[in-house]
């Protein structure tokens, strides 16, 4: 009985919503899109746009992706462009880098970035350093993507955050999206970028829905790599974060707002190149800074941000 009632209720709402639309002719509204679907859209659009783009990794094809990020792509694009690999990270990462050197634009998926450690030599020594060592003769347009950082109870070997390790190396761009818009816009930019990009997703964010604006739904929606976004304006304290921890910061900001403390929440979006200017500008305003991340504190992303602030031209003015 209860379910029938709720069905009728929702049915009436649906009908009136349709009628409302017909009468007022409202433009297509923002929709709710999960991070997973946003990534899927980005991959689909870029595969369609450029013949040279292809995806390889474990279970990306017939399994539809270990976390279903590449769902439907193999059915649409086939064996040539969506390639299932054996469980040999060092080998297939090297093959992806070689393909990039020879003119293709591979997307190399690591099931989690913990496994990228097996292939880290190929990411750093073969991909990141080559353009420099060849003095501009040999670019490497490749994207390494996959979930990064902690998940739910998967134990130490499967929970490491690699933002600091990859963020240390010149020649790499390191991106860490939070919302669905971030995921889509930044992944598209990463694929179109002619340099090696490490794209750090987060497994716990895959299922989280976000409102995606109409603009973000377009096939050419790109977000610039290297620019942070202010998710919430505030005057009292700056919270700087990336990936899943941005949600935590926004939750904290909501709690603090009840006590009259207004937090400015900055979503870094990119780890390298670091948008130090955005953080500096905010700190000049608030004079208080907390960095929030999922990685270990020593030699981490937060440590770098603090070092930059301290070395910045305005640090002593803060005092």
């Amino acid at each position: 009985m209860a379910s029938l009632r709720s069905f009728l209720r929702s049915g009436k709402n649906a009908v009136s919503a349709v009628l409302r639309r017909e009468f007022h002719g409202t433009p297509p509204a923002a929709v709710q899109v999960t991070v997973r679907d946003a990534l899927n859209q980005a991959l689909d659009e870029e595969l369609e746009r450029d013949e040279r783009v292809f995806l390889l990794g474990e279970e990306v094809a017939q399994y539809d992706g270990a976390y279903k990020v590449s769902r439907g792509l193999w059915k649409k694009y086939g064996d040539k462009r969506i390639i299932d690999t054996p469980i040999t990270e060092m080998g297939f990462a090297g093959i992806a880098v070689g393909a990039a050197m020879a003119g293709l634009r591979p997307i190399c998926e690591f099931m989690t970035f913990n496994f990228s450690m097996q292939a880290i030599d190929q990411v750093i020594n073969s991909a990141a350093k080559t353009y420099y060592m060849s003095a501009g003769l040999q670019p490497v347009p490749i994207v390494f993507r996959g979930p990064n950082g902690a998940s739910a109870g998967v134990a130490a070997q499967h929970s490491q955050c690699f933002a600091a390790w990859y963020g240390h190396c010149p020649g790499l761009k390191v991106v860490s999206p939070w919302s669905a818009e971030d995921a889509k816009g930044l992944l598209k930019s990463a694929i179109r970028d002619d340099n090696p990009v490490v794209f750090l997703e987060n497994e716990l964010m895959y299922g989280v829905p976000f409102e995606m604006s109409e603009e973000a739904q377009s096939k050419d929606f790109l977000l610039p790599i290297g620019k942070a976004k202010i998710e919430r304006q505030g005057n009292h304290v700056t919270l700087v974060s990336h990936s899943r921890m941005v949600s935590l910061c926004l939750d904290a900001a909501a709690v603090l707002a009840k006590e009259g403390i207004e937090c400015e929440v900055i979503n870094m979006r990119t780890i390298r190149p670091l948008d130090a200017e955005a953080i500096e500008t905010s700190v000049m305003k608030t004079n208080h800074l907390i960095t929030v991340e999922g990685g270990w504190p020593q030699f981490g992303v937060g440590a770098e941000i603090l070092a930059r602030i301290m070395e910045g031209k305005d640090f002593f003015i803060c005092f």
Binding site: F54, K80, I83, T85, P86, T88, M90, G91, F92, A93, G94, I95, A96, V97, G98, A99, A100, M101, A102, G103, L104, D121, Q122, N125, S126, T130, Y131, Y132, M133, S134, A135, G136, L137, Q138, P139, P141, P170, G171, K173, D194, N195, P273, R308, E311, G312, K313
Partner: protein, 366 residues
């Protein structure tokens, strides 16, 4: 004897290759023309003299850092190149000066790169181990890492359908690397047009093959990949085997493995005298009995394909080319300091690079 009395071509007998999972191997005879012979001789001699000059410059501290010399192995680089096209692809490890030359680099650019000057093939920023030309992917410092890269290049060839292949070289030391077996697996599964070539010079740095490998039959180590083993000191053998392997790949049969038995006269690198793990007698024996340049020279002279004077003339020309290149490499200026941070990213607007202190701004352009 006048030049008019020379033979223009002759049919040479070749060494027999050991075969693995192959019904037939390369032909047992091949035609060598006068032009080919002279060209192979010139190129091998150029590599030889270039490497010896590098040795000299290193001892004078004009070349610093790593320097891994290729003298003794010339027949491999020259033979392989004559078996493929310049439009094919090649990747090797750090003993790469010979390949940089055969793949289109000039002696001048190579030597200037060794001395780290702006006229170098990588503007002085790569050095001995990181030289690149079109369809030549270096020059790779990490042992074995170039093998998956080569298979990736082969994947691109297959993907783009351009009928090109990739030659992917590694040494007897690298042959035990795990990533190479991972690559064998994927190359075979996906039938990548990749020729894996093991240059077996009997020593991985200072470790002889018997002490490093449980199985020294490197041509069989590909297991499900067909393989052949041949004399890497005979440039004609190498050429014919490479042609055979290239045909195998281009016909869509997948990868193939070649083992070239060769020898390096120098130690592993310039910091290695090369006599603590092998005897001087051994080196001398190879030099007198199996030197690739001498072997080609004898073949050409005894079959009346060239005269002694002609070959001497080539020697003189090569010597001059090397001298000029060395002169250039010694006098060309080093790259300017503001080149330090360039070439970090490709196709990007200029950016600032974090330096050692906030008052020193480092700029980077693509």
């Amino acid at each position: 004897i006048g030049y008019g009395l020379l033979t223009s071509r002759f049919l040479s007998d070749l060494c027999k290759c050991d075969l693995h999972k192959l019904e037939e191997g390369p032909p047992l005879q091949a035609v060598l023309t006068r032009e080919e012979g002279l060209q192979y001789y010139r190129t091998m001699q150029t590599i030889r003299r270039m490497e010896l000059k590098a040795d000299q410059l290193y001892k004078q501290k004009i070349i610093r850092g790593f320097c891994h010399l290729y003298d003794g192995q010339e027949a491999c680089a020259v033979g392989i190149e004559t078996g493929i096209n310049l439009s094919d692809h090649l990747i090797t490890a750090y003993r790469a000066h010979g390949y940089t030359l055969t793949r289109g680099g000039t002696v001048r650019e190579i030597m200037a790169e060794l001395t780290g000057r702006r006229g170098g093939i990588a503007k002085g920023k790569g050095g001995s181990m990181h030289m690149y030309t079109k369809h030549f992917y270096g020059g790779n410092g990490i042992v074995g890492a170039q093998v998956p890269l080569g298979a990736g290049v082969a994947l691109a060839c297959k993907y783009l359908g351009n009928n090109e292949i990739c030659v992917c070289l590694y040494g007897d030391g690298a042959a035990n690397q795990g990533q190479i077996f991972e690559t064998y697996n994927m190359a075979s599964l996906w039938k990548l047009p990749c020729i894996f070539i093991c240059e077996n010079n009997k020593y991985g740095m200072g470790t002889s093959v018997e002490r490093a490998a449980a199985s020294t039959d490197y041509y069989k180590r590909g297991d499900f990949i067909p393989g052949l083993r041949l004399d890497g000191m005979d440039v004609l053998c190498v050429r014919e085997a490479t042609k055979f392997a290239a045909e195998h790949c281009r016909s869509g049969k997948g990868p193939i493995l070649m083992e070239l038995q060769t020898y390096r006269y120098h130690g592993h690198s310039m910091s290695d005298p090369g006599v603590s793990y092998r005897t001087r007698e051994e080196i001398q024996e190879v030099r007198s009995k199996s030197d690739p340049i001498s072997m080609l020279k004898d073949r050409m002279l005894s079959n009346n394909m060239a005269s002694v004077e002609e070959l001497k003339e080539i020697d003189v020309e090569v010597r001059k080319e090397i001298e000029d290149a060395a002169q250039f490499a010694t006098t060309d200026p080093e790259p300017p300091l503001d080149d330090l941070c360039n070439h970090i990213f490709y196709n990007d607007p200029p950016m600032e690079v974090r330096g050692t202190n906030p008052w020193t701004k480092l700029k980077s352009v693509s």
